[in-house]
C-alpha cells in the first residue's frame, strides 16, 4: 500500500515522508507535532506522511537502515534524504530534506 503510493509519487512529484519515533517520549512527540505542522503549512495537499512507532515495530528500523530516533525520511521526490534529531527548526529541516518551496 505504502509502496504503491510511493511509486505513484515518484511520477506525480508528491512528497512521501516517513517519521520514525520511539513511542511517546517528549522528543518523539515534539518531532511528530513539528513535522505535521511543517507538512500542513508548506506541503499542503501534496504530501503523504507515515508515522511509525519503532517501539512497536522494531524491525522497520532495520529495514530503513536507521541509526537513531526520531528520524525523518523523505522517499520522494528523489533523492532519498534522512534527518535525525531536533525537528523544531523548520527552515533547517526543509533545507536538509531538499524540499523546494
Amino acid at each position: 500500500m505504502e509502496n504503491i503510493g510511493m511509486f505513484n509519487n515518484l511520477e506525480n512529484g508528491r512528497y512521501t515522508l516517513t517519521l520514525y519515533v520511539n513511542g511517546t517520549t517528549p522528543n518523539s512527540v515534539a518531532a511528530v507535532v513539528n513535522v505535521r505542522r511543517l507538512c500542513e503549512e508548506h506541503l499542503a495537499d501534496r504530501y503523504d506522511l507515515e508515522v511509525l512507532d519503532i517501539s512497536r515495530f522494531p524491525a522497520k528500523a532495520k529495514k530503513a537502515q536507521l541509526i537513531g530516533l526520531p528520524a525523518l525520511v523523505k522517499h520522494t521526490p528523489l533523492p532519498v534524504r534522512h534527518f535525525l534529531g531536533d525537528m523544531s527548526q523548520t527552515q533547517i529541516l526543509l533545507k536538509k530534506l531538499d524540499i523546494l518551496l
Binding site: 517528549p26 511528530v32 519503532i54 517501539s55 528500523a61 537513531g68 530516533l69 535525525l84 534529531g85 536538509k96
Partner: protein
C-alpha cells in the same frame, strides 16, 4: 573527451552525494551530542538513551497510561502533543498516527448549550480552567457523553498548551436518564393511584350518602310507626277510661249499693262480698290498664311525675318494692317525644323485671344534668349472661332490648344494659335534653 566529461560529472555527483552523507552523519553526531536523539538502533535492537528526564517522563507516561480517564495535551494551536492509552481506546486511534494533528482530526465536539464553545474558551483564557459536559463525536460518527476538565498550561508569559482530562460519562448519563424515566413512571403511577383512590373515595362517599338516606328513611318510618302506635295507645286508653272504665265503675258502685241494701244478714251476703271485691279489682285493673297504655299525667304533668306514679302503681300491683329518686329536676321539661320514649323504656324495663328477673326490689333514678337526662332502672333479680341476652334479644318473647335501643336512638340518645347473673340488671338510658332526633343528626 565526451566520456571524460561524463566521468567527471558522475564523479562530481558522487562526490556531492558523499559530502551530503557526511553532512548527515555529522548532523547525527551533533544531534546525539545535543541530546536530540533519544534512541540508537544497532542491528535489531533499539537502545533508548536514558536520562533523568526520560526516566521521569516514562514514569509519568506509565502513570497516565494506567488511568481510565482520557488525557490529551495540545499545543497552543490545538495540535495533539500527548494522549494516553485510554484516549487511544476511546477514539480508536494510535498515538503515532494522530500526534501533531489538530483535535478535530480525532473527534468533533458537540455542544449541548448555546454559545458553549465561545463561553468555554473565554472561561479557559480568563481563569485558566474550564469544566463542563459535552458530546464527543468520533471519526466513525459514533458519539459519547463526556465530562471534560481543560487546564491552560503556561510559563507565566506565554501559553504552552492545554491539558484535557476527559471522562466518559455515557453510563452515568444513561443511569441518570433511566432514573429520570423511572421517576416519571413512579410519578405517573402515584398519580394514577391517587386518581383511583379519589374515585374509590367518591364511590364510598356516594355509598355513605345512600346509606345515610336509607338510614334516614328507616328512622323516619320507625318514628311514624312509634308515633302512630303512641296515638293509638292514647286513643285506646282514652276509650277504656271513658267508656269501659266508667261502666265498670258504675257496675262496682251498683254492686256496692245492692250489697249494702241486702245487709250482712242476707243469705247471699258472702257471695255479695266476693262480687263486691271482684268488681273493685276489675275497676282498679281497668284503670291501671288504661293508665299503662297512656298515662294522662305524662302529657299533663311531665315525665318525673308520671314515672313516679307509674312506679308506685306498678310496685303495688306486682308487689315488688320500689324506690324512685329524682335529681336535678326543678321545673325542667324535655321534648314530649323524648318524655314518651324514656317513659316507655322504663315501662319495658319494669315489664322485664316482672317477667324474668324474680326481683324483690327495684330502684329508678331520673337525673337532669348539664347536658342530658339520665334514666336508670336497677333490680336485684337473677340477671343474665351476655350470651343468653343475645339469644333472648333476637327471640319473639325477648326482653324488647332492640326496641328500647331504637327508642333511645330516635331521640338522639343511647342505651346501655349491664347485667350480672344472680346480682341483677341495670338499664341506663341517656338523652341530650336539647333533644334532637337522630334524623337531624344525620342531616348535620
Amino acid at each position: 573527451m565526451l566520456e571524460t566529461n561524463k566521468d567527471h560529472e558522475l564523479l562530481a555527483s558522487e562526490n556531492e552525494e558523499l559530502r551530503r552523507k557526511l553532512g548527515e552523519a555529522e548532523d547525527t553526531l551533533g544531534a546525539i551530542r545535543d541530546g536530540h536523539i533519544e534512541a540508537l538502533i544497532i542491528g535489531d535492537q533499539v537502545y533508548t538513551l536514558q536520562s533523568a528526564d526520560s526516566a521521569s517522563n516514562r514514569f509519568r507516561g506509565e502513570v497516565l497510561a494506567q488511568i481510565n480517564d482520557i488525557v490529551i495535551a495540545v499545543d497552543p494551536d490545538f495540535r495533539i502533543t500527548y494522549l494516553n492509552e485510554a484516549a487511544e481506546r476511546a477514539y480508536g486511534v494510535r498515538g503515532s498516527e494522530i500526534l501533531g494533528l489538530k483535535t478535530k482530526a480525532v473527534f468533533d465536539v458537540r455542544w449541548t448549550v448555546e454559545q458553549g464553545a465561545i463561553r468555554a474558551r473565554e472561561t479557559l483564557m480568563e481563569k485558566g480552567l474550564w469544566r463542563g459536559e459535552v458530546i464527543h463525536v468520533r471519526n466513525d460518527g459514533s458519539e459519547f457523553d463526556v465530562e471534560a476538565i481543560v487546564s491552560k498550561l503556561d510559563d507565566g508569559d506565554s501559553i504552552m498548551g492545554f491539558l484535557a482530562v476527559i471522562r466518559d460519562i455515557t453510563e452515568r448519563k444513561r443511569t441518570e436518564e433511566e432514573l429520570h424515566q423511572s421517576r416519571l413512571l413512579l410519578e405517573e403511577r402515584v398519580e394514577q393511584r391517587t386518581r383511583e383512590l379519589a374515585e374509590t373515595n367518591t364511590a364510598l362517599n356516594q355509598e355513605m350518602k345512600v346509606r345515610a338516606t336509607v338510614e334516614k328513611q328507616r328512622t323516619d318510618l320507625l318514628r311514624r310507626i312509634v308515633t302512630s302506635q303512641e296515638d293509638e295507645r292514647r286513643r285506646i286508653a282514652q276509650d277504656i277510661h271513658d267508656q269501659l272504665g266508667q261502666r265498670v265503675t258504675a257496675l262496682r258502685l251498683q254492686i256496692a249499693a245492692i250489697d249494702e241494701a241486702l245487709g250482712e244478714t242476707s243469705p247471699v251476703a258472702g257471695k255479695m262480698e266476693l262480687l263486691n271485691r271482684t268488681a273493685l279489682r276489675l275497676d282498679s285493673e281497668v284503670s291501671f290498664l288504661a293508665w299503662a297504655l297512656r298515662p294522662a299525667s305524662l302529657d299533663d304533668l311531665g315525665l318525673p311525675q308520671a314515672a313516679k306514679a307509674f312506679l308506685e302503681d306498678w310496685s303495688h300491683n306486682y308487689m315488688i318494692s320500689s324506690e324512685f329518686s329524682l335529681r336535678g329536676f326543678t321545673d325542667h321539661r324535655i321534648q314530649a317525644e323524648a318524655e314518651t320514649h324514656l317513659y316507655r323504656i322504663m315501662q319495658e324495663s319494669l315489664n322485664n323485671v316482672v317477667k324474668h328477673a324474680h326481683a324483690t326490689s327495684v330502684s329508678v333514678l331520673l337525673e337532669w344534668s348539664s347536658k342530658d337526662v339520665t334514666l336508670i332502672i336497677e333490680d336485684d333479680g337473677v340477671g343474665f349472661s351476655p350470651t343468653k341476652s343475645g339469644k333472648i334479644r333476637d327471640g319473639q318473647n325477648g326482653l324488647g332490648i332492640p326496641g328500647m335501643h331504637e327508642r333511645a336512638v330516635l331521640i338522639g340518645g343511647e342505651l346501655q344494659i349491664e347485667s350480672v347473673p344472680d346480682e341483677g340488671t341495670t338499664v341506663f338510658a341517656r338523652v341530650p335534653h336539647s333533644t334532637k332526633s337522630s334524623v337531624a343528626s344525620i342531616d348535620n
